[in-house]
């Protein structure tokens, strides 16, 4: 399916959707959003790109296989779960930096957990969809 309208629209939508997914990821701690939804939106951005330009081209702009995102995401999440042990606290306790960081706001270990979830969701969704798309 080659459609000039879809291709042109995707060129602008891809960065916007990725930015939106990142916005969802960051606001997730106190408001609706978070790593899971953010990851889904980010993978939809790539799925849209693959509809417009074909799966091979999307894999080219990703450079790495989406499968490799899964262990990285899992590792980030697990490290943020285990990190409080170093401070003598039970696993999963939220650790927070003292000072807020401009734009992002307060940063804590929960954000890294969400970041891991975000990467795992992108990795899983894209792996499944690309596998199905390339089988045909």
């Amino acid at each position: 399916m080659k459609s000039a309208i879809l291709q042109t629209a995707t060129r602008y939508l891809l960065p916007i959707l990725l930015l939106f997914s990142f916005f969802l990821l960051l606001r997730g701690h106190y408001y609706p959003g978070g790593g899971f939804v953010g990851g889904l939106v980010a993978s939809i951005a790539f799925v849209l790109h693959s509809f417009a330009n074909g799966t091979e081209n999307t894999m080219k702009i990703l450079r790495y296989k989406p499968l490799s995102l899964i262990p990285i995401g899992l590792a980030i999440s697990t490290l943020s779960v285990v990190a409080p042990l170093l401070f003598g606290l039970p696993p999963m306790t939220g650790l927070w930096f003292e000072e807020p960081i401009p734009v992002i706001g307060m940063i804590g270990s929960a954000l890294f957990f969400d970041l891991g979830v975000y990467l795992v969701v992108i990795g899983v969704v894209l792996t499944i969809l690309f596998t199905i798309a390339l089988e045909q």
Partner: protein, 503 residues
């Protein structure tokens, strides 16, 4: 006592799995990581076990939320014993699978999933929150679906569909039970539930809820009449996978049953009678099933069902001695059943088939291996002084003192049938001359010596542990004594979780 490190075995398994995912398709690295990770988690489990022995029940409040509001992890003697046994079985299966599995299965991620499965088992044993227990059950069954279907042969998929359908049904019952329980008490923490359930006025509702739990755990631990998924699915995956399933998965159901019945739904007369009827029928049907099977792994599958009945019967009597018997049998059963399926894998490697009609002559060709196998088989049957003998003493003694003559009879019947089928299997597989000498497909002899060693080593390792359990029964009896004290009088558990807030 609060100890933030009781989840260490879970994290070791999780990091092992993640590291293996990073080395996707590098099967040699994955094998080393798997064996290394299993050994480290065994060491961690031994440390946890000795800490609980010296300091009593340990707890951990996840994310620093106090009980009963947050999720609590509790390491009491029963939990850490099972964690230790799982680690021992994990080491053996991980060594065995690194030499016996085909490279094709490893490429599709056998090892990471195996470690996720072990992680789920640890989690189920250590959690003190009933919903968290459900979540770990899900981790276990999702991993086991993948392990069961990996390879995708037709027979495997057929077994997996039965397995999956029944286990999803079990989860549904379990989850419904949790929902009702939360509705009537407003808590999910097991220690908190134990206190709150006593003040519920509507005892009928509590009874119905307990039935939901018994059905859910009953399907998982394969009791009559919900057992049929087990023999029709456990013979399909490779033996290394079947060893984990046969040794550990049904026992999680038994563990959950013990935990829930000892804390929340203290069995009344109706529950006891119900469980006793189930236990007797499970033993009888499992024994009859084992009698007519000619495939080695199907026979072992029916023996699992038969022996689950012994443990359910012990729970049904719910006295201190009966629980000692149940827990001792659980300890013995995990080690022996895991080993039995590893042996089935070895027989398949030696002869290329598991059909008893076509097998034979193993004692003639491999006398040393046969001797090793004989020790394990004797333990399973319960020849004194090996490990299967001791728990049966407790169960018999209690069956007579409680006048449960049906159970005593079933126990006797089950033991004799086990003896009979194992003797039949021994003579068919090891003593008899193979019917067609030229058809023997020996894939063991051409293997390099280190691979042969690695294939027999796990069986010898588990066999040595079985011997230790049998010959040093006093130590095991002391542990089971402590466990059943904690189970009968659950105040120490509740106090460890909730602190002084009980008053």
């Amino acid at each position: 006592m609060i100890d933030n490190h009781i989840l260490a075995p879970i994290f070791v398994q999780l990091f092992t799995a993640i590291a293996q995912l990073m080395f996707w398709r590098k099967t040699l690295t994955q094998r080393f990581l798997s064996v290394g990770g299993s050994i480290i988690s065994l060491l961690v489990a031994i440390r946890l076990f000795s800490r609980v022995q010296s300091d009593g029940i340990l707890t951990m409040n996840a994310a620093n939320w106090d009980a009963p509001f947050g999720i609590v992890f509790v390491a009491d003697t029963l939990s850490v014993t099972l964690v230790l046994l799982t680690s021992l079985a994990g080491v053996a299966v991980s060594i065995f699978s690194s030499v016996s599995l085909s490279r094709q299965r490893m490429l599709y991620g056998y090892f990471p999933i195996f470690h996720f499965l072990i992680m789920g088992l640890y989690g189920a044993f250590l959690t003190g929150d009933i919903f968290n227990l459900y979540v770990y059950f899900e981790v276990i069954i999702i991993s086991s679906f993948v392990l069961m279907t990996l390879g995708g042969r037709k027979a495997q998929l057929e077994g997996a569909v039965k397995y999956m359908a029944m286990n999803i049904l079990a989860s549904m019952f379990f989850l419904t039970g949790i929902g009702i329980l939360y509705g009537i008490t407003g808590s999910l923490n097991m220690a908190d539930l134990a206190l709150k359930i006593q003040s519920v006025q509507n005892k009928t509702l509590v009874g119905i809820t307990s039935c939901f739990f018994i059905i859910g755990f009953g399907i998982k631990s394969a009791v009559f009449p919900l057992y049929y998924w087990l023999p029709s699915s456990y013979h399909t995956p490779p033996s290394a996978v079947a060893a984990t399933f046969g040794g550990l998965l049904t026992k999680v159901g038994i563990y959950a049953m013990i935990r829930v019945l000892s804390l929340i739904f203290i069995p009344d007369d109706f529950t006891k009678t119900l469980l006793m009827v189930i236990a007797v029928l499970t033993i009888v049907t499992g024994a009859f099933g084992a009698l007519i099977k000619s495939n080695v792994r199907r026979l072992f599958s029916y023996l699992i069902v038969c022996h689950i009945g012994f443990m359910v019967g012990g729970i049904a009597m719910f006295t201190k001695v009966a629980l000692m018997g149940t827990v001792f049998y659980l300890i013995h059963d995990i080690m022996v059943k895991t080993n039995m399926f590893l042996i089935a894998g070895l027989i398949r490697q030696l002869r290329g088939t598991l059909d008893m009609e076509k097998l034979g002559g193993l004692y003639r060709d491999y006398p040393k291996i046969s001797l090793l196998v004989a020790i394990v088989l004797f333990s399973l049957v319960g020849i004194p002084p090996l490990s299967g003998f001791w728990p049966k003493i407790f169960l018999f003694q209690n069956a007579f003192s409680q006048q449960q003559y049906f159970f005593a009879g079933a126990l006797l019947f089950g033991s004799f049938i086990t003896l009979f089928v194992i003797a039949k299997m021994w003579s068919q597989v090891f003593w008899k001359n193979p019917p067609q000498e030229e058809l023997i497909d020996d894939r063991f002899a051409p293997m390099p010596p280190y691979k042969k060693l690695l294939m027999v080593l796990p069986i010898a390792f588990l066999g040595a542990i079985t011997l230790y359990i049998g010959l040093n029964a006093e130590a095991i009896v002391n542990v089971t004594d402590e466990i059943s004290n904690q189970l009968i009088d659950n105040s120490s558990y509740i106090e460890a979780v909730l602190g002084d807030k009980t008053n």
